[in-house]
């Protein structure tokens, strides 16, 4: 059985050149699997890791568009086909899709969120930058 925690290291590796990455980040009533702030400080990403349930992940990732400029679902590659059948739904919502095994492939690019709360994003950005110094 594949565990969700096994998806974290490849995604972290994929991002960490350009982003500061943290796991299990609480914002409001939500706990985001991965939250990342670009090293330039310009962009925040939210990523929901799931082994199986793409629909639940999509709902969570759509909500994370409130906290992040772009939001992704990261699914194990073995389960990606079911989600890809709903490519249009991902695109309509602007949520991206990553397939994860040892590496990460972007299957659907996330759109810039139009729901983002700049105050929250700025607060998270400051927290990440302070922690990195």
């Amino acid at each position: 059985m594949i565990r969700e925690s096994r998806l974290y290291p490849p995604v972290e590796r994929h991002l960490k050149g350009a982003f500061l990455v943290k796991g299990e980040v609480q914002i409001g009533s939500k706990v985001l699997d991965i939250f990342a702030v670009s090293r330039s400080g310009r962009e925040c990403l939210a990523i929901e890791l799931k082994v199986n349930d793409w629909k639940r992940a999509l709902k969570q990732a759509a909500t994370y568009q409130v906290f992040a400029n772009r939001s992704y679902v990261a699914l194990h590659r073995a389960r990606i086909r079911a989600a890809l059948k709903h490519r249009r739904l991902f695109e309509q919502l602007g949520v991206g899709l990553m397939s994860v095994r040892r590496d990460v492939a972007i299957e659907i690019e996330a759109s810039q969120s139009s729901f983002v709360d700049e105050a929250i994003v700025e607060h998270m950005r400051q927290q990440f930058i302070a922690a990195d110094m």
Binding site: I27, G28, S29, L58, V66, L89, L93, F115, D117
Partner: protein, 409 residues
């Protein structure tokens, strides 16, 4: 008629928002423990109320419900057992569930029923007397709007508890005196099929009750299938055909709409408790600052955590609310991380809920059935597309389909 389930921690709402609900419902063990506070509230509000005798805790016994975590019984149950029949003390001491055999003899059932009705009649009398001269001269002892016969959960009409439930209603009716006696149909969702509904309604109607209450085990209106929703509607309509009031103990907006099919009232908490499992969940501490606040989105008749509501309304700004609470506070963007922030936000969201629910009830009461059903269709159309898929709003279509097809029949 909208009943709110009493919670001793909700006094703020009873004091400030009482015009937004019609009556109160209270669990017997909570009343036993908070009799003075509830009496004071009733003397102030003068709202209709009823007492649920909490027999389900005994029938579907679970030690966590009674355990005070110090090796004894919770104080509310200690107080209630003093009023309740001997068999209740016995089963609490033996830490076991009430069985059909405990009520097998006519005498045992009569004692059980008598004591349980007696509590509903007299629970407020002692605190009323103890207040004595503190009361205004014209103060009258508040009385429950109706008594509830002891009720028992049944999984179907062949369940032995089904007959006990009906016998308890028959016995209670014989003891009702000048009070009104209501019977509670407390059953599994699987009973919501035409054959069992007909048998159950006919069985309970023979008890010569003054009204009916309904509690379907964990019936979630926004998750229920079309068959289950249709079953609920059929149950309400059949019971209502006897010319007696029908009240759903736990319901949401679907119950509001069932007014058009004969439902006279329903209960819920304040933005909580619109469904209830037969087997009560084990009490446990939640997060600091209380449960996660949920925001009721009026046009889709469903509550969401703040972030989900914000995302949904971000996509569909037409769903924004302009009630007095939402107009004066940014409930969707307010901080929600610290316990105090969460508690404050939850209070605002619950005040918003009370206002909206009361508007919904008034609106449905003043509408023709076709108009209410048309509004649901409009809501379903409004949110169709990705939002409906992601936020699981297809229940609006199910509600519409069930109501409209039954309106035609």
């Amino acid at each position: 008629m909208q009943y709110i389930w009493y919670n001793a921690q909700d006094n703020y709402f009873y004091e400030n928002d009482s015009k937004h609900f019609d009556g109160l419902a209270i669990n017997a063990h909570i009343l036993a423990h908070n009799a003075k506070a509830f009496l004071a509230l009733e003397l102030e509000l003068r709202k209709p109320f009823f007492i649920l005798p909490d027999v389900h805790f005994l029938q579907l016994y679970s030690p966590q419900q009674f355990d005070n975590q110090k090796g004894g019984i919770r104080i509310s149950w200690e107080k209630l057992r003093a009023y309740y029949p001997k068999v209740v003390s016995k089963i609490l001491d033996e830490q076991r569930a009430l069985s059909v055999n405990d009520l097998a003899s006519k005498e045992a059932l009569e004692e059980f029923v008598f004591k349980i009705l007696d509590f509903q009649r007299s629970a407020l009398a002692a605190p009323f007397q103890s207040l004595g001269r503190l009361l205004p001269e014209n103060a009258r002892l508040p009385r429950s709007s109706f008594l509830i016969a002891p009720y028992f959960y049944f999984g179907g009409v062949t369940d032995p508890w089904y007959n006990v439930a009906i016998n308890a209603c028959v016995t209670a009716t014989a003891l009702k005196g000048t009070d009104k006696m209501y019977g509670l149909i407390f059953c599994a969702t699987s009973c919501l099929n035409p054959q069992e509904i007909a048998t159950i309604c006919s069985g309970f109607s023979r008890a010569n009750l003054d009204g009916f209450l309904i509690w379907i085990d964990e019936f979630d209106e926004s998750v229920a299938s079309e068959e289950e929703l249709a079953g609920m509607l059929d149950l309400v309509r059949t019971l209502s055909s006897y010319g007696k009031p029908v009240i759903n103990l736990y319901g949401g907006y679907f119950s509001v709409m069932l007014k058009h099919f004969g439902l006279d009232g329903f209960g819920s908490g304040i933005c909580v408790r619109d469904k209830m499992p037969a087997r009560p969940p084990a009490p446990m501490g939640g997060p600091a600052g209380g449960p996660v606040p949920r925001y009721y989105v009026p046009q889709v008749h469903r509550k969401f955590v703040q972030e989900d509501a914000r995302r949904l309304i971000g996509q569909l700004p037409i769903l924004s609310c302009n009630c007095e609470i939402c107009s004066s506070a940014q409930v969707l963007t307010m901080p929600n991380q610290l316990p105090a922030e969460r508690a404050y936000l939850r209070r605002l969201m619950r005040r918003h809920f009370l206002r909206i629910r009361s508007q919904e009830v008034k609106a449905v009461n003043s509408e023709a059935p076709g108009q209410t059903i048309g509004n649901i269709q409009s809501a379903a159309t409004l949110v169709s597309g990705p939002a409906a898929t992601v936020y699981e709003l297809y229940f609006l279509n199910r509600w519409h389909d069930v109501l409209s097809s039954n309106l035609a029949t």
